[in-house]
């Protein structure tokens, strides 16, 4: 699934957008079903604001200023309320979500971001493995150089490998892409919300979903 279009490598926005576009495509190919609720709410909010503006425009065009004066003030107020709601939804609730979906191995929600002028693709991933209702949150990041060639072509394979290796649910659905070493090495951080009670559960689930627990990283302590 290589893209055939070339993008400007120096444009961070282009890099991010291309990567964002590839993500749903990949997950779709793994038979994840995308949940569009967030997008739908955003479209409804946005378009209702636009419809109000359009209605006022039409009314003003047809009947002139004097006739539409009593409607203009409430319409303006309603528009800006809806617009603020839209912006709030976009900034705080959606917060950069690129994909939200459900598959055989669990639910996953991915929000991507980049820091200004730094070409590192960062993702906040919230996932719930199938059969449990324990939501995990991890933050993964990788430089964009992993899956873009220097002339600006997107190569899907390393991207898929990265996602599958980092996110257990995706890895469970696509074990062929789970690899130890993906191209150049990089830092990955993970913070698991493991408390004292469910630490054992978390570890068991991770094992079951196929994440490679690194061995030999330290001496095993007998419990």
């Amino acid at each position: 699934m290589s893209a055939t279009t070339k993008i400007a490598v120096h444009s961070l926005a282009d890099l991010k957008n291309t990567t964002d576009d590839a993500l749903p495509n990949y997950l779709h190919s793994l038979k994840f079903r995308q949940i569009h609720n967030q997008t739908d709410v955003r479209l409804v909010l946005g378009y209702s604001a636009v419809i109000i503006a359009g209605a006022l425009f039409y009314f003003d065009y047809k009947f002139g200023w004097e006739a539409s004066k009593p409607y203009t003030a409430p319409a303006v107020v309603a528009y800006f309320i809806l617009n603020s709601a839209f912006s709030y939804w976009l900034w705080f609730v959606e917060a950069g979500t690129v994909y939200e979906g459900e598959g055989s191995t669990g639910k996953v929600r991915i929000a991507s971001s980049t820091k200004k002028h730094i070409p590192i693709y960062e993702c906040d991933v919230l996932f719930t493995p199938a059969g449990s209702n324990l939501q995990q949150k991890i933050h993964i990041r990788a430089p964009m150089t992993r899956w873009f060639t220097s002339d600006g072509y997107f190569v899907a394979k390393p991207f898929q490998q990265w996602l599958a290796s980092e996110v257990p649910i995706i890895g469970a659905a696509d074990p062929s892409n789970v690899v130890e070493e993906i191209g150049r090495g990089s830092e990955t951080e993970r913070t698991l919300n493991a408390t004292g009670n469910n630490a054992i559960d978390v570890l068991e689930q991770l094992k079951a979903s196929g994440a490679k627990v690194s061995t030999g990283s330290g001496r095993r302590r007998k419990a």
Binding site: Y47, A49, V50, G54, E66, V76, Y79
Partner: protein
């Protein structure tokens, strides 16, 4: 970046929404300003040279229509009854203003005669409430010249809107 074909319908709808929101926010800001100043056209561009040297063609004027007791010496914008051309001139006379409606006579600084000839037939004075759409309170030079160009060359307007539309829909920044 320019691939329209591999966009899904929802994505396309979101792109169009962005463009529509830009346009509607601009329109609603204009309408909000109209409501605040109580004037159908709160910002006007000077179209003629009849107020030189104070205003040149292309200057941008900010209007306020809530001061109904217009004084002599203020600069008002009015529409001649039956015509749609706004005229920016200075008030040189006023009569009434209590129970009888306020009547004004205007004259351009650069005109030899006052505006009696420009008013509708049998109209010797403007009525503040009906004819005047606002009084000038602020001024920025030159900025409005673009709108004069747009109105004199209408194809420019279509071209500009078309280019802007294309750019917003196809780019995603």
């Amino acid at each position: 970046m320019l691939g329209l074909s591999d966009m899904q319908p929802r994505q396309f709808a979101a792109q169009v929404l962005n463009f529509a929101l830009v346009l509607s926010t601009a329109f609603m800001l204009w309408k909000g300003l109209s409501v605040a100043t109580d004037s159908p056209s709160p910002i006007v561009v000077v179209l003629s040279g009849s107020m030189e040297p104070a205003f040149e063609r292309g200057d941008l004027l900010f209007l306020w229509n809530r001061g109904l007791d217009t004084q002599v010496g203020e600069i008002v914008v009015y529409n001649v009854k039956g015509k749609d051309i706004p005229i920016v001139h200075r008030v040189v006379r006023r009569y009434g203003g209590g129970k009888t409606p306020l009547k004004l006579l205007t004259k351009g600084d650069n005109n030899l005669a006052d505006d009696t000839e420009l008013y509708a037939t049998n109209q010797d004075f403007l009525t503040r409430k009906e004819d005047v759409i606002g009084s000038v309170v602020g001024f920025i030079p030159f900025v409005g010249y673009v709108t004069i160009l747009l109105s004199e060359y209408p194809w420019l307007k279509q071209a500009m809107l078309g280019i802007m539309g294309l750019m917003v829909v196809l780019q995603r920044e």
